[in-house]
């Protein structure tokens, strides 16, 4: 049995592969559910009803998907240019704390329509600034950004921890470490009344469309793809490598920072150190599931959110650990990698 590189990739295969990958992951996870002693189909049914069965569940799933879309985009755009931003988690938190700092006091006098976009920008800039550090180290000293961006996550989270236990601590929180809340008119309008679903979802979907067009239609998109695929060839063709990577880093870090800002303004209103259940890291999985396609990120984020939200319901009803959601998402990443492989190679006997 041999593997041969495919010279042509049939469109049907490219479209079908993520679907088959998810199906395969569900089958594999099904074995674990069966091992835990529950009927598999019923368990998956519970996950679906848990995620979409009621109005509350559906809005909750979409609320969860929103930050995943943004961090997924952050990873997708960076990875396309072979810039390995593993620091979305830290950028997310820095964006969040920035919004909490400005939105609770300094800028809170501004009217809502001015304040909200301004806070979005502030969060994005905070994320950008954090991503520019590893990029600078890479361009200046050839330091691997995988390591530096990853380690900065811990720096950022500890910094946030310090701020919410120090200068930004909410005096009315009974001693709990949490930031002061942002002004009421800085909170995002709800998409659906009496739910947590906010207009951040629209922002995230719009961001995916914009990134898609940016990559497919613009000079910057072409150049960043060239820089990622073959830096030497890109330089020969006059692509300004450093400048292109700076732009990519700004977009990537900015999206992750924006995710943090939107999470604060849309859901909680203040920052705690459990604001993100690993959105930054999950974004990497979302991006890989989407094969780095910005529009695919929307679907991948929805899938991931469905698993996480639905698993809670399933766990309660059937006594299976919620970890099954983590396992399923992780399995789907693995099966997706296999699927990507088979869109590029075929088996020959």
């Amino acid at each position: 049995m041999r593997l041969e590189r495919r010279e042509h990739r049939p469109l049907a295969l490219v479209v079908l592969s993520p679907i088959l990958a998810v199906a395969a992951a569900l089958v594999l996870a099904g074995l674990l559910i069966a091992a835990a002693g529950a009927p598999v189909l019923e368990a998956y049914g519970r996950i679906l009803t848990g995620a979409f069965g009621t109005r509350l569940a559906a809005t909750e799933t979409l609320t969860r998907a929103t930050p995943l879309m943004l961090t997924g985009l952050a990873a997708a755009i960076a990875f396309r240019a072979r810039l390995w931003n593993i620091g979305a988690e830290g950028q997310f938190y820095l964006g969040a704390i920035m919004v909490a700092a400005l939105g609770s006091s300094a800028l809170s006098g501004l009217p809502g329509p001015v304040l909200v976009p301004l806070l979005f920008a502030a969060g994005a800039i905070a994320g950008m600034a954090l991503m520019l550090v590893p990029l600078w180290l890479r361009l200046r000293f050839s330091v691997d950004e995988v390591v530096t961006s990853l380690l900065l996550n811990f720096v950022a989270v500890l910094f946030v921890s310090m701020m919410i236990d120090g200068p930004l601590k909410d005096p009315l929180a009974f001693g709990w470490p949490q930031s002061m809340p942002v002004a009421d008119h800085a909170l995002l309008p709800k998409l659906i009344e009496r739910s947590r679903l906010h207009i951040g979802l629209a922002v995230a979907i719009a961001a995916a469309l914009v990134i898609y067009l940016l990559q497919a239609r613009t000079v910057f998109g072409l150049q960043s793809r060239a820089a990622g695929l073959n830096p030497e060839g890109a330089v020969f063709a006059g692509v300004p490598l450093g400048r292109t990577l700076v732009k990519v880093a700004c977009l990537s870090g900015g999206l992750a920072g924006l995710a943090g800002a939107i999470e604060v303004m849309g859901v909680k209103g203040y920052v705690t150190t459990d604001l993100s259940p690993g959105y930054g890291y999950s974004g990497i999985i979302v991006a890989m599931l989407a094969n780095l396609n910005p529009l695919g990120v929307i679907a991948a984020a929805l899938f991931t959110a469905t698993m996480f939200v639905g698993a809670d319901g399933m766990s309660r009803a059937m006594g299976i650990p919620t970890y099954i959601a983590d396992v399923t998402v992780a399995l789907s990443l693995l099966t997706m990698l296999v699927a990507i492989f088979f869109t590029q190679y075929r088996i020959r006997r």
Binding site: M1, R2, E4, E7, R217, T218, V219, F220, G221, L222, Q223, R225, A226, L229, N230, E232, G233, A234, V235, F236, A237, G238, V239, R348, R349
Partner: protein, 523 residues
Amino acid sequence: MTTETTESTAEPVLALSHISKRFGPIVANDDISIALGRGELLALLGENGAGKTTLMSILFGHYTPDAGTVRVDGVELPHGRPRAAIKAGVGMVHQHFSLAPNLTVLENVMTGTEPLWSLRSRKGAARRKLAAIAERFGLSVDPDARLGDLSVGEQQRVEILKALYNDARILILDEPTAVLTNIEAERLFRTLREMARQGLSLIFISHKLDEVMAAADRIVVLRGGRVAAERRAAETNKAELAELMVGHRVTRPTRAPAEPGATVFQASRLTVSSGGVERLKAIDFFLREGETLGIIGVSGNGQTTLSQLMGGLAAPSGGEMRLFGEPVAALDVDDLVQAGVGRIPEDRHRQGAIGEMAIWENAVLERIRQPLFSRRGIVNRSAGQAFAATIIEEFDVRGGTPTSRTRLLSGGNMQKLILGRNLYRRPRILIAAQPTRGLDEGAVAAVHARILEARQAGTAVLLISEDLDEVMGLADRIQAIVKGRLSAPIAAEDADPRRLGLMMSGDWAAGEGNTGEGHPHAS
């Protein structure tokens, strides 16, 4: 029809019989039969895409043939089992080496020969065996050197050693000289001859007529997936082989005498350093419209730096440059492209094109900022695709459409694409670095014709090449590059292989040096 194999010696060590292989609609091998005798050095000659590599991959078990058999010493090998081929004594030296750069020579050679879970590694025994083999065939390599630190020629020696270490009696070499300098290639063929003399049987794949004629006992010519002919080296000549290989007579283009115009580029006492080493030392040359300057030299004497400098990728540390009469401190890619300087890079796969991108994207990438191809940062895809379609049409790029991936093009067609994107807009200067390296005869002729055509139309051409025939065929003036220095130019009429050979060996360097004679006086 198939040429039936003639038995060259009594019992063939290796016999390929009626091998056929299709990839989708493409017939890569069509009923091919070849026999290899003991102690024989056989050349498999053919253009790119003639089916040579496919055939050898089948022999080595990388591909499964649709029909046909492979026999070693009369015993049929199971299809698609490299391990069986290795066990039967077949060794393969790939064009792109399959070695690990972070391991030592010895470790590389031993990889795959030991059980994975064994606790002790038998390094001592391996070292002795390797030394014995190296001694026997004169393949000296330091067993403890890290592979990544070795030159390409030495890495190839390690590949050969690895095959021999696995007790190969039949050795297949896929385009072994593609990555070598002339001197390394000569050395390789001496080794191969010695191996044949000691009873090994060898097949080497090539599309270079000279080396096939010089090294092989017997030559099998493949064309379009079939055996086109089989000749003993002693009974054929280059012209016949070339004709058999491409299917028609190859003629090098003839050229009209140059009528040089204005000087468009001039370098005076130019020095370029990289990594603290002076790669180019106070060189002088100039380019004139409608004239080709050929830079000839043995690989590794500063050609790479020169093509980087002229391509806008390296800046001089001393001396002066004038582009179109204006002094410039350094050449910049965008400025060069804007000013109408066409550039053909030394390495077409790494620099000339981005394989995973579409052909049209590669066609427009260096000019993407120009209004024709983008406006306010938005790419004009239809204009780009139309441009690529024009190039494909006019420069006869085969095997791709504007939207197909560039990686799928053969080397020759990729080079035609690169030529096309440069020549289509009638550049004032064309920098051509090793423009035909690794191409087959048909593609070489096409590239040469285009370069001559450009020079005829008034382009100033800088041709940097290691191929004597190419430089003598195309250049009007010739300078040799030796250890980062340039000789004074000589006129093409005064050049013959002997004189150029002397220049390339650096005879001038000691005495007269680069005195700068031959400058255009008062341009």
